[in-house]
Structure formats: C-alpha cells, structure tokens
C-alpha cells in the first residue's frame, strides 16, 4: 500500500486500549496513523490488568491480537516515550509537534537481555505500581511491545557507569541519546490520553497503611506475572490474606474529591472479589458501597456474585480505616445503612476502589492547556477544535468494551475529517 491510496493522515495520542484501537481501526479503514505513546510500551492500563470483568479473561489475549495488527500494519507508525507539545491548525490540517524522550536504546536492540545482567542500578517497578524493582535498563514486561529495552534516566547514572555498553553485542545502547522534536501534518487528532488512578490516601479517614492498596495494585498482585506471582500476599509481612475489604467510591462521587462516578469500580471490585474467592476458598470479602453499579449484562455477574455467601455486600460508606495493633490487620469502620448499625470489621487487606482521574488533568503544559475540559477535567468533544476528537476515558470514565466502541467511533470521525479536508 502506498501513500497514494491513503485516505488521509491521523494522529492518535495515547497508546492504551482506546488509542491502540483507534489507530488500528483508522488504519484498517485506509488512513495512515501516527500513534503517540507517553510510556516505553503500548497497552496502557489494560496491559497491567490481571483479568477483565465479566468474563474473567486475560487482557493480554486481545492485546496480543491488536499488537499483531499494529506490528504488521504498514500504515501505523508508533512513537513511544513521546508527547504532543504543540498543535497548530489551518485549513483542515494540523501541524503537530511531538517530543520524544530518549530511550537510550536504539532499534538495533534484540531484547536479548544481556544489558540487564550487567546493570548495577535498580529502580522502582512502575509496571507493578511500585511493588518490586527492576534494573535501570529493563524490559517493561515479557510481552512488551516495542520488544526493546529502555533506560530509566532517573535511575541510570549514565556514561560514568556505562557497564551496559560492552554487554550489548549489537551497539544498541546509546547513552548520549537526547530528546527529539518532530513535526507531523495530519488531518485529524484523536485524544486517547486515558486516566490515572486517584490517590485516595487524601480522603478523610483512609490515610496510608501498608496493608491498604489500590485496586490497580490488586490487579498486579493477582497476576501470575506480578510481584507475588499471583498470590495475594499483603505488603507488610507477605502473609496470605484471610479476608479483604473493598472500599468503594474511595474519592469518587465525593464533593471534596472526584465528583463523578468512575463507572467501572463496582464491577472491578466484584471481579477482584471473585478471583480472590476462587483462589482462597476460606476468605471473607466485604464490599462497602453506596450503590452497586453493574449496568447492562454486567448485572448477571452481580447476580452470580451475590450467590457467594462469603462475599458480603454492605451498603454504607467507610468512615475510617485504622491499624489493629501490631498484627498488621486493619479495622474498617463503616455504617451498614440497611441494618442501621455501625460496623468495625477486621480484615487482612483493604483495597481502595480508587476512581479515574483524567490523565490530561494533571498536565498543565501546552497543548493540553488548549484542550478545554469539562468541570471534572475530562475532554468534551463539543468543545474541541474541528478535526480533534476525544475518546475513551479521556472523555469520560468507561469500561474497556465502551472504550473500544468509543475509539472505533472516533476513528470514523477522523476518517470523515480526512475525507472532508481532502475534498476541500
């Protein structure tokens, strides 16, 4: 396929499930796509998830198919470690400036891993949300794509160390690599910048406890590829859990924090409860909620979950989490609204169902400052420049299937922009 039979040029910002899907769908409809991802690999949040609700299937399964479509597509160009820094629009075309941070590893890398063995420095493992470490030069996961190592400049002392250089037989490591700016002319931009987990430790009464984790960390604990090889071990003492409390709306639906509902946390906690129960048949699970939100056919999953006698669904908001002496256990104080009584429940682990913060909200630099956002910080299609579209959790909190639908819809709108600017 040549540039000649291209239907137009589209940029997709964000390489999570929404961005990947938008890029693939637009490219398979004939557009050339530049996919811009901030981290060193594609997949975003879903690559870090253990299972999807309600099928309890592994996200890497669909991700692998999608990455195959990207790898074999002559129409998709993928830029990792990259961010959009400027957008200029004229006549249906947009000139976009992308800044690519240095990977310090070039395309000659074969991911053989000899460099890792030579590296003396370590860093906190961001893929595992800080649970565990990697070397300063690392492969984000066994299934990472691009399948290439990367260096964390915050952990690597650079040339003064340089131990990785002789270890690499392919001349793939370049510690002098610098950031690069590139300009692209495109007819449409899809913003699929996704979300970040809310830091719920700021919520009154919750605070910081070593055995209180967030729901995204729970996904890594449960994953066979995670820091505990899939066993649910609590952080303080590595003990296997006997009971778990889920705190719903930890920061969401809250006037003081996130006013919106994050849409997926109820189902995410039910899912986590289910896989914990499957692994620990004697564990008790407590889910403290305001409303249980399992829309559409997700309701069938809720109904199934309600059959489990050791899965206790309690309507009531958690007031306080405290530590139980030196046992490492936590005490969850809540009100059982329906039974009109207060509860103090001792558990081995507390999981905060932290909500979604739009990832763009935390970035004040241009061009995100030119993208007008709703009061919650999400992008709104109605307020964007012509040819610009928001998709997935950049637009509103939604589950994976909805993100994919939204991405496919955005791909159509991008295609329309290409068709109309071509005519013009």
């Amino acid at each position: 396929m040549s540039e000649a039979d291209s239907r137009g040029r589209v940029m997709v910002v964000g390489g999570g499930i929404t961005g990947i899907t938008a890029a693939i769908e637009a490219s398979e409809a004939g557009c050339d796509v530049i996919l811009v991802e901030r981290s060193a690999y594609l997949g975003g949040r879903v690559a870090q998830m253990h299972q999807y609700f309600p099928k309890l299937c592994p996200p890497v399964c669909g991700l692998e198919i999608n990455l195959r479509r990207i790898r074999t597509s002559p129409r998709i160009r993928c830029l990792t470690l990259s961010e959009v820094v400027e957008v200029q629009a004229s006549d249906g075309w947009h000139r976009v400036t992308v800044e690519q941070r240095p990977r310090f590893v070039n395309e000659r890398c074969t991911a053989c891993g000899a460099c890792v063995a030579a590296c003396p420095e370590s860093r906190s493992d961001s893929f595992n949300y800080g649970m565990g470490t990697t070397r300063a030069i690392y492969l984000p996961t066994d299934l990472a794509w691009p399948f290439r190592h990367t260096i964390d400049p915050a952990a690597c002392p650079g040339e003064q160390c340089g131990k990785c250089l002789p270890a690499c037989a392919y001349g793939a490591i370049d510690l002098k690599m610098t950031a690069q700016r590139r300009e692209f002319e495109v007819q449409s931009v899809i913003w699929a910048t996704g979300w970040e987990p809310f830091d719920a430790s700021v919520v009154d009464g919750l605070g910081l406890h070593s055995n209180m984790i967030s729901n995204v960390q729970m996904e890594r604990l449960a994953a066979p590829t995670g820091p505990t090889k899939g066993r649910i071990l609590r952080p303080s003492d590595g003990k296997e859990i006997e009971s778990v409390a889920f705190v719903q709306c930890a920061g969401s639906r809250d006037e003081n924090h996130l006013k919106h509902c994050s849409s997926v946390c109820c189902m995410a906690s039910l899912k986590q409860a289910r896989y914990v129960r499957a692994q620990y048949p004697n564990a008790d699970i407590y889910v403290y909620y305001i409303d249980l939100r399992s829309p559409g056919r997700q309701e069938l999953f809720l109904a199934e979950s309600q059959q489990d006698e050791r899965l206790h669904l309690v309507k009531g908001k958690v007031a306080k989490v405290t530590e139980d002496g030196t046992s490492g256990d936590l005490i969850v104080a809540a009100e059982d609204v329906m039974a009109e009584r207060s509860i103090r429940q001792k558990v081995s682990l507390v999981v905060l169902a932290t909500g979604m913060v739009p990832a763009l909200r935390n970035h004040s630099a241009s061009p995100s400052s030119m993208l007008s956002r709703d009061p919650h910080g999400f992008l709104s299609n109605a307020q964007l420049l012509p040819g610009h579209f928001a998709a997935g959790c950049a637009r509103q909190p939604m589950d994976v299937a909805s993100c994919v639908r939204d991405a496919t819809s955005a791909a159509l709108k991008a295609l329309q922009s290409c068709v109309s600017s071509h005519r013009g």
Partner: protein, 754 residues
C-alpha cells in the same frame, strides 16, 4: 508438486545466543544436504542493516521462498516481509535457545527439526491469487431510530452511499416520543431538547442517502461487498445492493402486562415510563383515570429488570430516565411530589452531577427498597394507589401513597435469533419427513420451547445457518469479546445501538459510528481480497476440491461465520467474502478436500513428516505440539522470553485455531513415531476465549474421533491431550509440558517408530 518450481533460500541468524548455543554449521548442513535450497547463509545479526540487505539481494535474484531462522515471527514481521516471495519464519530463539539448555544435543536436534519443518512448509506452501470481489460502496442501514439515523448520516459523511430502511412511516424511532433527554454535556445538570426535524431534514437532503419508509426486508443474499437485497416498500418489491450492513433495529419496552403485581393493567394510573414520556410531552401531566394533575408521583425502578422472573439484566438508562421525568414533572408542576424507589441508583460518569441535581430538589425523594406490590383501589374510587416497599431505610415494610405510579420498564432488543429460527426450520423438516425416535422428540421439544420465535425474522438472510445474526444472551446479538465489541459472526453485518446492548442515546450514536467504520473496513478489505480481524489482511482463501465432496455438510454446519451455503444436494457453496480464514472447515472435512495455499493437509503433514524421529533404541521421545497461534504460540514464546525451561522433545507447529486441526495430522504423527501429541488452544465453554468462537470447542467434540483412532491403532488414549491455555498462563506452560512428557515416558515409546 509445488516443490520443483520452488527456489528456496535459508537465512540463519546467530545473534541473541543462537550462535553460541547451537552448532550453526550443522544447521547449515541440514539445509544444504537434506533439501535443495539455492542459498544458505548465516549472519551474526540478521535483523541489522547488513543482514536485511543480504536477504533483499537474494529475493531480487529470483528466490521464491525464504526461510528465516531467527527469532519469533511475532517480531520483525515488517523487517523480513516480502511482497514477492513466501516468507517462513523458523523460531530458533524463543522456542529453542531461550527455553532449552545451550550446547546440548537435544537442543541442537530441536533446532534442526524446526528448520526441517520450516523448509518443508516453504517448499509446499503456494501463493494463490486472492479472491478480490467487486465491492459495492453502499451501506444498508436497517432501522431509522437514533442509531440508524446516526449510521446513515455518518456513513454518508465518510463518503459512502446509504440505503436506510425504516419499518414505520416516519424516521426517528423513539426520538419521536422522547422530546427531552437527560444531559450529555457540561454542566450535566439540565435536560436537553432534541431537534429531530433537523436531523431528518439532513438525511432527506443528502443525495447519498436513499430512504425507504414503511419498508421491510424480503431477503438478503450474497456476501460482503456484494449483498443482494430485496425490500418490500408499500407492497412492491425493490431490489438494491450493498457492500455491508448495519443493523439498528432498536428496542421495545418490556411487556408491562406481565407486571400485574405492580398494578399495571389494574389501575389506569399505573403507567410505564414510555407512557409517562408521552404524558410529559403534552406540557401538562394528567392522570389517565380522571384527567386530574397528580399530586404525588411514584417511580418504581427496575420494574421487570434485574429480576430473574423477568429481565435478568439492567437496562442501563432507566435510572437517568426516571430522574429526568421527576425533574420534568417538577418543572411542569412545582407543587408535585415525586418518589423514586430504587435498588441502586445508576448514574455513571459525569451523570453523577445530574443525580446530585435531583437530590438537591426537595420535591424528589429517593428511597432504596424492594417494591413488592402496588395496591390499586376499586375502579371509580378516589383512594390513592399504595406502593408497598420492603427492606427500606425507613423500616422493613412501608407503604407510600401515590396518585400516579410510573414503572421504569426496561429494554427488550428488537432482534431475531437466527440460529434458533434455523433450528426450528430443521425441526419442522424432521417432523414432516416422518422421522422417529430421539430426533423427533428433540424436534418437538424445540418447537414447544422456542416455537414462538418462528416468523420473527428481520434480516431474512438466505444463509444456510439462519436468517439473522446469532444471539449472545437475553436476545441481544452482542459480541462475546470485551476487546472486540464489533466482532460479528456474520461478516459484514454489524449490530448497533439498543439491539446490541442497552444504551443511552449518546451511546447509541457512538455505537452506530463504530459499526459504520467496521462496515467501511469490510467493504475496503473485501475489495482487496483480504479478510478482517483477527486474521486481518489475510488474503489466502480456502479451496474446495468439490469433485471429492461427499456432501457430509460438516463444513457448512461448523463454520462459525456462516460463510458456506449449500446447494440442493448439500454441496458447500463458498462465499469468500464471508470467510474469516480460520480453517475450521479444513479441520472438519473428513475427505480432506479443503486447503489454503500456506495451510493445508499437505503442508502440515509435510512438516510433521519432516521431523527426524529417533528410533526406539535412542530413547528420545518426540512430542508434537499443535499450538493455536493466537494465544498458545505467543505463550510458548513468552515462556522463552522469561527463560523458562521445558522438555526439548517437543516439536511445535502453529495452527490457525484448534478447530483448524484435521484429525489426519494426529494419525500422521502417530504413524511417524511421535510418542505424544499435545493440542494447545484457547478456552472453550460459555466464557470461551477462542477467537473463532467455537474452534476449541469443536476440537473437544472431535476428540472422540481421535480416541477411536488411538483405539484402532491399539495406542493409549493418554498419548493425545487437549489443553486450554491463555497467553497470561505462560508461566505454567513449562510445568504442563514437562508433566505431559513425564506421562508419555511412563507409558513408553510409540511402538510404530522406525
């Protein structure tokens, strides 16, 4: 055979430990001496510029097939790709040196066998012409509600022609009833109006859109790119064509007459939310019984939803719809009091603001509880209705009086279950033929259970597997895949809007846009002779040697995508545009007459036969692993990336799907002296992960044939095992393989060796 015309070049990479762990000269010898290859070279770093240049050079010098023995084919797929020649990737890295002991005899034998299998495939594989179809750049949109209207508008804006078919005399669907909607834009607090007339005018004025009102579909035949459609419009038949179809047939409210316990049908003042919509649209709410304005309105949420006795699912919009109606009623009459009885209030994302707005209104009270009944007073009485609620915050059992009760009834999809309708037809044929015994009983049972679905056809597809899309559950023809919500089992036909899943209007529009994009892709790829996801861009096409067909109908019945029709005798009639290249037909065919250029009985058999099986005195067992290339193969490779070790006696052949495994290969392997066969595929069952829907399930049912084959050969059943493996399971793969190897060792070597 194809062999003679082939000019094969073999390139071996020595990088990434391959050169250090293996005897490369010995590998080159295998290539040179065992097969007539024109070029055989090794390179220290094949994916580097120099290596790639060497490959390019040999391709230009007339090589027809290239064997690249290096890393996994999942990497550098573009680096080593070629338009003019067949490329076979032999995995020496992840599947050999990264997962087995370096410098070991067994590791070397594994590498040599992998190379032999790759060369066998390169010699046998044919590059056939793709089946390009002249594709009609028109999209048929079935249904003129919000989803269908959005589909039509957006397909036209993308430059495609549209045929829009609506069964009613007017476009708009439920938008003709719903005059106001809950908010979809900031500040997410105010009711929004809908300008339906403007939307209809845009469609009417669009020269790319042909609208048929009061129209139904008589039949749809053909395949993507070339659908032939007959419509019936005002009594006359109209023929038209389309390249792809978006079905947006919408929903109907749950039948409230089944909700007698909630007073429906027993008091005129118990109405549905749809009826409330009509009352509100008049600008003044009058109660049906006496025309007086109600003073107290009760909304009962989940009336027939989230209820095993009615609709087990949640209709996703009723909470917001009732909040809207309560606010609207308060706007029309500030004196009115409203009560909303709910199980859970479901206002996702930013619509939480809308919920908050309703909570701020002192005239709207929300009460969690289970409404058990609505008691209606006798006709003509002025007594109010009594809503009886249990398990509330105010007590275990309370009664609230209201003079108008609104039941928030849910959505029922307007969709037909194509597979069931097909089965009903088969059942009738069985009865008419006068069959006896269990077949007759099953046919009668089906008609008793599902007979009411007869005649519900909407699309009237002339497909062998039924006239409409297959249904997933609860009547919705939704996708089973979370990652792929537009996956369809009838290629080129995409469900959108509330017939696919309960949706709000904004969701319906997004859904319709996505479906249109898939329809456009389908038209474009069909024209290029390529298929769609998950084998995107695959241009191979199954070839049927019809003269040897015995009309057993296994292929036409088992194709997950309904791509094969049948003639009168039962001979398959292929439709390459519907085909997704999964190869399940090839797996099904007992006569082995179905083949793809690069994936055929002969190609895979040749690979199996290329493996050098040591004789029994060497005591080195050989285990054949047929691995689904979607999950099992990447899982094996990921195990290599993680440097996990397992038995070096395995020989892995990737297959398109476990359903694309023909039993003859298993017989071939056993005859060849393989001691055990491991079939690795995706999960089957209700929560299947098979990308081809029922491939791994079909392998399960075919395992009976395998068992019989083993019995026939007087071999132990345990020699063949089927395992379901997900990509995320890669860390448990080595143990699984080693356990199987140990079991085979215990059983002993295959007596058919040598």
């Amino acid at each position: 055979m194809a062999d003679e015309k082939k000019n094969v070049a073999v390139f071996l990479c020595r990088g990434c430990d391959i050169g250090a762990a293996l005897d490369i000269e010995a590998l080159e010898k295998v290539a040179r001496e065992e097969r007539s290859v024109s070029v055989c070279r090794s390179h220290p770093f094949l994916c580097g510029d120099e290596g790639v240049a060497q490959i390019k050079e040999s391709v230009q010098s007339g090589v027809t097939s290239l064997v690249v023995a290096a890393c996994s084919g999942r990497f550098h797929s573009q680096t080593f790709a070629s338009d003019s020649c067949f490329v076979e990737r032999v995995n020496l890295r992840e599947l050999v040196v990264w997962s087995h002991e370096p410098g070991n005899e067994d590791t070397q034998m594994l590498a040599e066998d992998n190379l032999r299998m790759g060369m066998a495939r390169a010699l046998k594989a044919e590059m056939r012409e793709p089946a390009k179809l002249a594709a009609e750049p028109t999209i048929l949109v079935v249904g003129g509600g919000p989803s269908g209207m959005a589909a039509a508008r957006d397909a036209s804006r993308a430059g495609f022609r549209v045929v829009l078919v609506e069964k009613e005399a007017d476009l708009g669907g439920w938008l003709r009833t719903f005059k106001r909607q809950f908010p979809k834009s900031a500040p997410y607090r105010d009711l929004e109006s809908i300008d339906l007339d403007r939307q209809i005018r845009e469609l009417e004025n669009d020269p790319n859109i042909q609208i048929y009102r009061s129209a139904a579909i008589n039949s749809i035949s053909g395949q993507p790119g070339q659908f032939e459609i007959e419509l019936e419009v005002n009594g006359s038949a109209i023929q038209t064509k389309a390249g792809a179809i978006v079905q947006a047939t919408g929903w109907k409210p749950y039948d409230a007459s089944r909700l007698g316990h909630l007073g429906y049908g027993r008091s005129p003042d118990v109405i549905t939310n749809v009826e409330m919509e009509r009352l509100s649209a008049t600008g003044k709410i009058h109660r049906p019984s006496d025309g007086r304005p109600p003073k107290r309105i009760a909304f009962i949420q989940c009336a027939g939803s989230r209820d095993q006795a009615h609709l087990p699912y949640c209709s996703a919009v009723c909470c917001r719809a009732s909040l809207k109606q309560a606010l609207w009623a308060r706007e029309l009459d500030p004196e009115v009091e409203t009560y909303i009885f709910y199980k859970d209030i479901r206002t996702p994302a930013q619509s939480e603001d809308f919920y908050r707005r309703a909570q701020e209104d002192p005239g709207i009270s929300m009460l969690k509880g289970d409404v058990v009944s609505v008691a209606a007073a006798d006709a003509g009485s002025r007594e109010p209705l009594r809503v009886n609620v249990e398990n509330t915050l105010l007590g275990p059992s309370i009664a609230v009086e209201a003079d108008l009760v609104v039941l928030a009834t849910g959505m029922v999809p307007v969709a037909a279950d194509g597979e069931v309708i097909r089965n009903l037809r088969d059942a009738k044929a069985i009865i008419n033929k006068g069959e006896q015994g269990p077949q007759l009983d099953a046919a009668r049972q089906l008609i008793a259970d599902r007979g009411h679905l007869e005649g519900t056809d909407l699309l009237h597809l002339t497909y062998r597997q039924g006239p409409d899309l297959p249904v997933l559950n609860n009547g919705f023809p939704d996708s089973h895949f979370i990652c792929f919500p537009y996956e369809t089992r009838r290629t080129g036909i995409y469900a959108a809007g509330c017939m696919r899943a309960p949706n709000d209007i904004e969701g319906c529009i997004a859904d319709a846009q996505g479906a249109v994009l898939k329809a456009i892709q389908c038209i474009e790829l069909t024209a290029r002779g390529a298929t769609l996801h998950p084998r995107w861009e695959d241009r191979t096409v199954p070839d049927f040697q019809m003269q040897r067909c015995t009309q057993c109908k296994r292929c036409t019945e088992e194709c997950p995508f309904g791509s094969l029709d049948e003639d009168q005798k039962g001979t398959p009639l292929p439709n390459p545009g519907r085909c997704r290249r999964c190869g399940i037909c090839l797996g099904a065919c007992p006569e082995r007459i179905i083949s793809f250029g690069d994936y055929s009985i002969d190609v895979i058999s040749s690979m199996i036969k290329a493996v050098k099986v040591p004789d029994e005195f060497e005591e080195k067992p050989r285990l054949l692993v047929l691995a689904c290339e979607n999950d099992a193969l990447p899982a094996l490779e990921a195990a290599g990336v993680a440097r996990l070790r397992y038995s070096p006696f395995v020989r892995v052949i990737p297959v398109r799907c476990l359903g694309a495994v023909n039993v003859i290969w298993i017989a071939d392997a056993l005859a060849r002296g393989f001691d055990g066969i491991l079939l690795l595929g995706c999960k089957s069952g209700d929560d299947y992960q098979c990308h081809f829907i029922r491939g791994s399930e079909l392998m399960g049912t075919r395992s009976e044939n395998i068992r019989q084959k083993l019995v026939q050969l007087a071999l132990e059943e345990e020699r063949v095992r089927i395992e379901q493996i997900a990509l995320s399971d890669y860390q448990r793969l080595p143990a699984l393989i080693d356990e199987f190897a140990a079991q085979i060792e215990e059983i002993g070597l295959n007596p058919f060796k040598g």
